[in-house]
Symmetry: C2
């Protein structure tokens, strides 16, 4: 066993070195350096460069540090994402979750117990199981025992596992309380202050699953904003306070990107200047007017569209108001229940899955989003999935949670009940469109280029 | 002078340490660790953690390495983008560009000379000045002296500075040659093989500015694709081979994200199943049908829209066919010339700027995109810009190039001529929409959070 484990660890390290090598070659390609150019500038041998590219030796932090001094590159460019989930599925057991428990005090009193649930270095989920240690004796939004947080950068989907009061600031800046019960759910926009507490009449302390996650602004884009500084960074925020303002902002933004005058745009579109001014003051163009504007900006209609509605900052979905249906179309192996979601996050979908089939072997689920799951029922759920090494099985027990990579074929069997949250990582959305446009045959190179941009021997 | 330089270097390091500290706090917030939790798990003192957060000491690579072992985080999360352009403008002088020259041999003969031009760690440009050392004696696409490359991951905008033959593979897979002259321009899609050569009758070797850059797929998204592996990664590529296929793919993708059956979707939308099947087979919905579909997927119409047209892989714009206009509306300080662009990159705009005013002090340009510029004329161009420390002036001489951060107010004065390329970094597009939705008042926290997600002292 020890040997096998060592072998696996070595194999994985060697795979990571290869990926780091490919990534390094990609950086050299981008700045048009051949291995020999890079060797000279980094003051190491050409052989060492080639061994790094081939993954025979691991790129050292010294070389990275040197590279950032001589080239306009960043350390983060050289570090790849660590794959801690090579099979496609990573389960966190209830017992390990318990061990991660930590009590959060507020105002000197125990307020919450936090426990980690399944997380992966590949997926953007930061999900916590939380017990409310504070008991409130009324449902007033101004209850003095309630301690509010500052809001946080991450988006939050919450699933309620018991009798919990949910405190939040609504769109008018007023404090509100939602009296929540098991199966209810919500979505909380970043930086919206909120709190949770157990109700006095509850049989036991309230529990929630607080599933937080970064979306498009986390990672590279936040780093870029930060490197531009607050003064310039703030300018990126367009006025999305209403649909009208959003439309006006986007049209102005695109016209300015090309430094087009109203005069020139009017000439191109055959629309008079007054009409164009109205659009930039909040009049929403018709679909055919959008078509003309987009054509003359040489952008797509979708680039001029904002959100279809400006959603509330907090969305509460009571379990009794959920939509339910059977899935798949033919076998009906599951009953699905649609939980809280927001139009601001089109790739974020939460479901309750009631499992209705115990034996059927078909892998009847495959989703192009990162998935998080938690066994919220009282019975074990078996999971089968197609890993890189073929079909695998595992068991998700009550209180266990899991992370699953996108596009892994799988099924759930038994009589249990899961909470599932599906979200985009960094690919879904515009990067996915760019990948799609490159065509299937170029995707392998886009994912991990192992070619120099030219062959020295020539190519006719 | 030495003292001032040291002071500046120290000040910049201290600012970077602060940003690294804020970023570190952001990571701790995301995984819901207080400084005391982090200290315990990283086995360092709480004081050291607090000093890292405050920027008093720099986060070491040892601590980062430890963190990646105990938490589901990646080394790249901890490294910020280095700001090598604190004033907002970075100029590369012609002389320094000459020094970076390197001769690229193909098939044993000198084929190109490459020279770096202005690049920044903050901006995505990877621009090269290239001289064609290979002289061809005909304009045939199959000329045997022409050595083709493999295509590359980056998008390319090319500006022609002389008599150059441009070789490329067109959308039908056929070799083509474009007979290009000064002022012509093109766009080349990633992984499209191409080549350039000097024409026999040219008075001197042909020159181009080959401005390459990554778009949405570079950085985080490529790292995520690579960590998911080629098998799963490839699945992200939707079928965008035609407008019909793209529409069908996107509708199927969104329906599958929610595991909606056709039956359930039909019930919700009041559209019959046959019609829904037609949409998933390539029939393009009307605008009002899109509205209904989007509403019931709880996504935006724009999320269902693909590109307005599937653009050619190579776009050539001859100078004689360009559009020209004066800017700004009132003062007409510039004549602008629109160069090659593609609808696939709505935030990528190239212009020739003919400068018509020598004295006017107004900062009449401010663009929400990263900007690259090159003095393609014969006379000096003066540039004034608003830096963090107030108004600054500089001179861009013939052959000099520059990088400018987004939203820097500036002007160009003199009688000269610039080539300018404006592109998005990692913020423009969907991240910018997310930032806009958070509202102006939360942008500072989104850019660089210096708050823990809660105050231990409590908050009513």
């Amino acid at each position: 066993m020890a040997d096998e484990k060592t072998f696996t660890k070595e194999l994985r390290e060697s795979l990571e070195n290869k990926r780091m090598g490919n990534n390094f070659l990609g950086i050299l390609n981008d700045i048009k350096r051949r291995p020999s150019d890079a060797a000279k500038e980094l003051e190491i041998s050409k052989e060492e460069i080639e061994n790094i590219i081939n993954g025979k030796i691991r790129l050292s932090s010294e070389i990275i540090s040197k590279a950032t001094k001589i080239w306009p590159v960043n350390s983060r460019d050289f570090y790849i994402m660590h794959d801690d989930c090579p099979s496609g599925l990573k389960i966190m057991r209830y017992e390990d979750s318990v061990k991660s428990g930590r009590i959060m005090h507020r105002s000197g009193k125990p307020y919450y117990e936090y426990r980690d649930t399944a997380m992966s270095s590949v997926g953007p989920f930061r999900p916590e199981w939380i017990e409310m240690l504070c008991v409130v004796d009324d449902n007033e939004p101004n209850n003095k025992q309630t301690q509010w947080n500052n809001g946080h950068f991450m988006h939050q989907f919450t699933y309620f596992l018991g009798d919990v009061n949910f405190y939040y600031i609504d769109d008018n800046g007023e404090k509100k309380v939602g009296v929540m019960n098991i199966g209810d759910s919500n979505y909380i926009t970043p930086f919206t202050p909120h709190s949770f507490a157990t109700r006095k009449d509850a049989k036991k302390n309230g529990l929630i699953l607080a599933l937080t996650y970064g979306n498009n602004l986390s990672g590279d884009s936040q780093h870029e904003l930060s490197s531009l500084g607050k003064k310039l960074g703030k300018e990126f925020a367009l006025d999305f306070s209403s649909k009208e303002n959003a439309s006006a902002s986007l049209i102005k933004f695109h016209r300015n990107n090309s430094s087009l005058t109203l005069h020139e745009l009017s000439k191109r579109t055959n629309m008079n200047i007054e009409k164009l001014k109205d659009f930039e003051n909040g009049k929403i163009p018709t679909y055919s007017e959008y078509t003309i504007l987009a054509e003359h900006f040489n952008v797509n209609i979708r680039d001029l569209f904002s959100y279809d509605k400006i959603s509330n900052k907090v969305i509460v979905r009571l379990h009794k108001n959920t939509k339910k249906w059977f899935y798949p179309e033919d076998t009906k192996n599951y009953e699905l229940v649609e939980l809280a979601s927001t139009i601001s996050l089109p790739y974020s979908k939460a479901l309750e899955i009631n499992i209705l089939s115990e034996n059927n072997k078909t892998l009847d689920l495959k989703v192009g989003l990162h998935q998080y799951g938690y066994n919220i029922g009282n019975t074990d759920v078996s999971i089968s999935y197609e890993s890189e090494d073929g079909l695998k099985d595992d068991m998700v027990k009550p209180g266990d949670s899991f992370y699953m990579k996108p596009f892994v074929e799988h099924n759930f069997r038994g009589k249990g009940k899961l909470l599932v949250l599906r979200i985009s990582g960094k690919i879904t959305g515009e990067p996915q469109r760019e990948l799609s446009l490159m065509g299937k045959k170029n995707t392998a190179r886009a994912i991990n280029d192992s070619l120099q941009w030219f062959d020295a021997k020539g190519k006719n």
